[in-house]
Amino acid sequence: MLEAYGQALSFLLSPMTLLLMLGAVIIGLIIGIIPGIGGLIGVALFLPLVFRMPAETALTFLITFHAVTMTGGSISAILVNVPGTGANAATLLDGFPMNQKGEGARAVGAAVTASTFGGLVPCFLALAMIPLVYRLVIAFRSPEMAMLVLLGISFIAVLTGRSKTRGLASGTLGVLISLIGFQNVTGTYRFTLGSEFLYSGLEIVAMALGLFGLAELFDVLMKGHTSITSTTSKQSLADALQGALDVWRHKWVWLQGTIIGYIIGVIPGVGAETGTFVAYGQAKKTSKHPELFGTGIVEGIIAPESANNAKESGALLTTMAFGIPGSAIFALFMGAFLMVGVIPGPRMLVDHLPLALIMILGIALANLIGGIISLLAAPYLARATSVHIDFLFPIILCLIITGGYIVRNTMMNVVAVIILGLLGLLMKRYDFSRPAMLLGFVLGQLFENYVLLSYQVSGPLFFVTPISMALFAFIVLLFVYPLLKKFFRHWLPRRVRA
């Protein structure tokens, strides 16, 4: 074991590997910042480039690149309200308002630090928790997965904004949109309006680009603002460092997000988006001032950012140790493993232990390098958003339209982004919750798949399993707890006094 650690560290710390990782970190950060590409498309596009490299080099490049895309994605979410990857969608809820208040560098500093340590610490957890993880993965079948996704959906109630009715309507509309397209189970085309483009449904990237990116551009122009941020305060490295210190100040929020992200990463098929929204919702639930979430507070950035990077170690562990891809991107990684002659599964930790350690420690090192680079660049990136809107509008629009096109290589996706942009604008104007809609969209299809699968396998009482019931009890508690709190704080003392 120690010998394997030695081999892994000597490979990772060699000058050539460090140079390769530096290149991969820079490319990963840029790809993360650019909306519409994200880690999934990036890894897919780089696969043909690396398949002639030795296994260690190829996999180190890919994992380093992927590990920092979400850190990059948080930067564009905070600065221009366009999440670089789907996993950064929860970050913009508080990140962009902070930037509008002139605290962009601080927000980026907090996001980058939460991401860095959120990615760093679970790597060591991953190494220590292999026996426990095995039991957890085996225990989660489709009924438990359905309940886990339902738990994610229940957080719509947390993201509703000021009106519960409008928030729930937005969330359910998101679920409805996720159901558009071909349903595998029955072979039915649903809500496609006869359009071939809609057969495969809508992409989360199109949803995020339209609902947030384009809608925000329209809104800024309609209000006649001259820049994306409403203040022109000069931001420095000290602001970014203050953001880094905020993570220490809110270490419990960070820890909670990291644990949620790691656990959700370990369980295959749930997705980074679920982890970030659950972490955000949980941070809001446990906060002393939940009403401030969404107005631009740093806890709203720390929770999702720690979760989305923590997820990677968990997902990588599941992929390597059990041969089960933790997410779509790790399905690609399984392809990369096979391309370089490594078969993922329990034998991998025996036959290729140094390689497995290189990948886990590689995530840690990538997060560290990416974190330092992003932290140093934060004030300059934040200042860029106070540039006059005349210059920013064409550039951001070019990125949105290109991002919309590149996801599916069809101009119809650009049309979808524009339509979703108009919908996002109307939702913003009339106070309907866009985050709730996005959460509904992310989890709707997943929920239906697991419910149908569970129904087919276990019949109508599929949810009667210990883990499912425990998860269901937790969901009920989420709704009942605020009422109970109110009851014990106000109503009961009054009755006792009377």
């Binding site: 309507a169 649903r190 209000k223 509008f393």
Partner: protein, 156 residues
């Protein structure tokens, strides 16, 4: 009881919910219709509740979104004109991409937009070239992902 912006938007959601309920009922198998029917019914019910609330409490009061004095002070006509202009640029650029592809449409769009805002020739030209260089370098060269060439140049 007057229909204004917000009420029209909620009415649109009611119609979407109703359309999805009717469409769901037409799906042949229960597994295909169960969840869409349940979710569409929820959308319909929630949107209808909101519509009734808006019409009862008065559209004017409900339209008062986030207290933003600056925004309120901008006349609706001005906002609509600005929105129309922005939408025209978005649609125009997308149409340009559809016709002649990203490589031609992008610099033309950036240059004309900046010129229309009264910016100088040099800065407009430099930014147009830099934007296409960034996008082309990133997608076409770096990621080997082909940018759309435009329907007039053989794109599909």
């Amino acid at each position: 009881m007057r229909f204004e912006g917000r009420a029209y938007f909620i009415l649109f959601l009611v119609v979407v919910g109703l359309y999805c309920i009717i469409s769901s009922l037409a799906f042949a198998r229960v597994q295909a219709k169960a969840i869409p029917l349940a979710v569409a019914s929820l959308v319909f019910i929630l949107a209808t509740m909101e519509l009734v609330r808006v019409l009862r409490t008065g559209n004017q009061a409900a339209t008062r979104v986030k207290a933003e004095p600056k925004e309120d002070s901008i006349a609706l006509n001005t906002q609509l004109r600005r929105f129309g202009l922005a939408l025209a640029w978005v649609v125009g650029f997308s149409l340009g991409v559809y016709l002649v592809g990203f490589v031609i449409a992008m610099p033309v769009f950036v240059f004309s937009y900046l010129k229309s805002k009264g910016r100088g020739w040099l800065i407009s030209a430099v930014l147009a070239v830099l934007t296409i260089a960034l996008i082309y370098g990133m997608f076409q060269i770096g990621l080997r992902s082909s940018l759309y060439r435009g329907i007039l140049f053989g794109g599909r």
